[in-house]
Symmetry: C2
Subunit: 334 residues, 2 copies
DNA sequence: CTGAAAGCGCTTACAG
DNA sequence: CTGAAAGCGCTTACAG
């Protein structure tokens, strides 16, 4: 069961190695009989082309790099499933790179990726700074490697295609929903750290609130649950609130916990909504209303888009926006 | 900024390509002056060895395959962080393979992995069947590829090393805890689907319960939250319960929701405990007591163990068990 | 439709 | 300590 090479196959099938290669990669260039003979031998020997030799000779790796910031975000894990499923369909392997800003500069990782000769790059970071974007642009142009951003948008340019939902619109719609519930003091609870997608959600919130002649109130908190509790308690002591749209489900749940401790009823006194439709939303009591983000699809469509780019196909829409929906459960009146 | 090859470096540094190769891989075999000259040119040209050529020539890929069942499990994502961090330290790249049992048979994926010439395999599936284990064994022996199981144990054999915690002990300890709270009717809520780790948890539970002369009561539910609700309602209608140890935090939280709807107080009437110490546990009210599983460390140690195997180093302990701890929060009295 | 041969960019004994 | 050369296992014009 030691590894068979293309020579072994050629020998056993009584053809040259060129023919074996063609039987695999360009079946139509080989006479049916010989093709079948070759394929049969391949089957028998359990032959699998050596990926390195193939990559070296063809200059294509059929491998894509997936760059993620931190795996432990629920949304990213689910996105990976979408990516992997489509990658499998198109026979691409996935090289995983996790960004841990402290130790290794992003630039080094990108160099590594170039050395790995990947055919394409999927960038899942939900935060993209100007310098990161420029770096990606450089890579793309210098090495002609297609890149796709998933679940991120870079407002400044669409040179690098992206796929996400319309977060601005989602933010707008969810805020509208609360306004229609009759809420007047609606807060958006966002993060201290800057995320492009959260900026979009805030923009949508602002549009809805201003349109309704209400005062916009954005509170920025940490992503860490333990800190939130104190922070919320402190902050809302002397603020009137009757509605909260949080940028993440977990933040919404965290807020609800604080509200309950302060004997505030949800949704009677305050309407609450989150973003993402994670397990947190379903496990919470009352069950959390939220924007459903088709995160698996974002991954799948992003990967599909990348395959098109890698095949030099025309692409019409450089900023793909998937449909989202509002899931109204128990934390909003309706 | 097009890709420089080893020839370009050799030319610019006025040495042969063999010397360039040595300067990179066996620095001690090169005179310091020339080494520095070469390294300087490498820096200037931004040279990175072509991974395919290197892999083909050296028969080593410095790549490991990570096999996961389904990314969307919180524990797996966090484990990936541990794996990636250690992989980076030892300069290994990660090829990610997601098992989706329906479409592609596991055997094909394993063949793909062999073709990819990985130096080692990390198997994160938390369920391992006999046939899966045999398949891994075959791969290991036929191709001499080291394999490590993380967060799984295969009771039948330690031929393939594993890293996890002592789930039996953890199950025992947590159950003891409830018994010490004075609980008499303690249920273990486990999953219908078989998982090796859950078997261990059950075993620990059984030991504690039997030791205390209580009746063991194991209920198996689906992993799906939506189903659980009905299931719990139905099941506990005519069962006396004053303690629950669930195999996962999310199941514990799900149970608590049902309990609350039935006007049962936690922890006054029922003590509840989970496993893993995820965000669910902290977000729940009351905050969930649970077994803390050092999931990042399991990934990191697993990867470290694999590097040792890949370097043919001696390994003494083929079943590494990391320490766990009991996090007692609000769902247990104490 | 098929084969001989060059070449992909490295590593590694083998000489010197 | 350094270089010339073979070889890793494929792909792909180029002939035929």
């Amino acid at each position: 069961m030691s590894k068979a090479t293309i020579y072994d196959v050629a020998g056993a099938a009584r053809v040259s190695l060129a023919t074996v290669s063609r039987a695999i990669n360009n079946p139509e260039k080989v006479k049916p009989e010989t093709r079948e003979r070759v394929l049969k031998v391949i089957e028998e020997l359990g032959y699998k082309p050596n990926a390195f030799a193939k990559g070296l000779a063809s200059r294509k790796s059929t491998t894509v790099a997936v760059l993620v910031p931190d795996m432990s975000r629920a949304s990213i894990a689910e996105m990976m499933n979408g990516i992997a499923d489509i990658a499998r369909v198109y026979k691409y392997s996935i090289l995983l790179y996790i960004l841990d800003s402290e130790d290794t500069p992003e630039e080094d990782i990108l160099k590594e990726i170039v050395a790995a000769q990947v055919d394409g790059i999927l960038y899942l970071n939900d935060e993209i700074t100007d310098s990161q974007f420029e770096l990606l642009q450089t890579i793309k142009n210098a090495y002609q490697i297609p890149i796709v951003l998933t679940n991120t948008i870079y407002p400044g340019s669409d040179e690098i295609p992206s796929v996400s939902i319309d977060y601005e619109k989602a933010g707008y719609e969810m805020t509208r929903r609360l306004i229609e519930d009759g809420r007047q003091n609606i807060y958006m609870v966002s993060t201290v750290r800057k995320y492009m997608v959260n900026d979009q959600k805030e923009a949508g919130y602002l549009r809805a609130v201003q349109e309704a002649g209400l005062t916009p109130r954005i509170m920025r908190t940490s992503g860490r649950i333990s800190i939130n509790t104190e922070h919320f308690n402190e902050y809302f002591k002397d603020h009137k609130v009757d509605g909260v749209v949080a940028v993440r489900d977990s933040i919404a749940v965290s807020f609800m916990n604080v509200a309950r401790e302060n004997n505030v009823s949800i949704p009677e006194d305050i309407s609450v909504a989150g973003f993402q439709n994670t397990k947190y939303a379903v496990l919470a009591r009352p069950k959390l209303s939220c924007v459903d983000v088709p995160i698996y699809d974002i991954g799948a469509v992003g990967m599909r888009l990348l395959t098109k780019l890698m095949n030099q196909e025309e692409i019409t829409d450089r900023r793909v926006k998937l449909d989202h929906s509002l899931i109204l459960r128990e934390t909003t009146k309706s």
